[in-house]
Symmetry: C2
């Protein structure tokens, strides 16, 4: 019997890598999916391709989606990425409806390759305040998938797997270390250089660094400045 | 007080046009959204732009999404469009998770422009067997939107408007005639020529022609052959 298939959304950052690695350990054969949505830098897409090989993914797909026609986020539009620490509420780096879009694309691919699961590195703990990282959102997506797909009509809709959704960033780091994931190859920074060097100042860098500190693990992040 | 805003998904076909026209009549200011998802022909995108002007849309956006990396449909992959009449079950022209993807993109734009509604020409009657055209799917999307967006957290998530979901194709034609929509400018055909001339043989052409016949309205469709 062949391994069950899963589509794993892979951004090039550490959360999606740890989530995918956990699904791999659970026995899924992975097809990784990265979305080129007009990110400011290419480093994370390059990292995702490399990490797919580390995950021994059966296939790596890249869907191109130009979200700049929609705009609305510092990650895709011409808005400065804040570097002065986390503030109250939903930050400007929030990409409108991003996880709805990403999961829908993963769902489409899952239907085509007959996958049982959609793996996403959503995290509701150190999550920067994004509403579409919460368990209740992911449950709502399961229902959408069950009703909106050919597979769902046939009774085997792919389900969302979010294995790190309730972990702290320190838990994610510890889990990744246990699975020997190559954290040094991941890019979390919102403003990374083309070579994938991190800025150390944006929210994503701050949350990541705090996670390594809390886990008591040396931070292997490659920073542009010391 | 300014008019409430709606994002209207506009494919260039007749269903989405009638749905958008109904929302316009209800008093919404429309921003139309077309998705260039690697359709075989460009005629429907050209039609969508022209129809946006007819709708007096405040803005027309085009998001580019290359679904060919996912494949799985005769509309985007290298699979022949069937011309031998509707068959049992879900047809090969089904695009995996298409309405999930389209509504998610519309949701993202709605967040950015602060729109109250997402207008979609989904139709569950003469719907070719696509699961993501049914009211229960659209209800599930409302829940997703409420949970997965900044607007939802603030209590004003955009809601799906599917004004033609329960109409027969004949009802859609009759409604469109009443609203004076330019049916001759719409492109429904799965295999239209670059100039938007219809094939008369694919499922979409057959369903459309039957709708005009049932409504007792002269079919203004421009066909490539007689």
């Amino acid at each position: 019997m062949s391994a069950p298939r899963a589509v794993a959304l892979l951004s090039g950052g550490m959360d999606s890598l740890v989530a995918a690695a956990l699904a791999r350990v659970e026995g899924y054969s992975l097809t990784t999916l990265s979305v080129d949505y007009g990110q400011r830098h290419r480093a994370e897409l390059v990292a995702a391709e490399r990490l797919s090989r580390w995950l021994e993914a059966a296939d790596h797909r890249v869907v191109t989606l130009d979200l700049r026609a929609i705009g609305g986020s510092a990650l895709t539009a011409d808005v400065a990425v804040p570097t002065d620490g986390a503030s109250e509420g939903i930050p400007v780096t929030y990409v409108p409806a991003r996880n709805s879009v990403l999961l829908s694309l993963a769902l489409g691919l899952a239907e085509v390759i007959d996958a049982e699961a959609l793996v996403i590195g959503a995290n509701a703990v150190d999550y920067s305040g994004y509403p579409d990282c919460r368990p209740e959102f992911l449950d709502a997506f399961d229902r959408l998938a069950a009703l909106g797909t050919k597979a769902g009509i046939e009774g085997h809709a792919p389900r969302v797997l979010a294995p790190i959704v309730n972990m702290t960033k320190a838990d994610i780091v510890t889990t990744g270390v246990r699975l020997l994931v190559p954290f040094g190859e991941t890019v979390s920074c919102y403003a990374a250089t083309p070579d994938g060097l991190a800025c150390a100042a944006c929210d994503a860098c701050r949350i990541r660094a705090a996670g390594f500190r809390a886990a008591g693990i040396d931070d292997p992040t490659r920073y542009a400045t010391v």
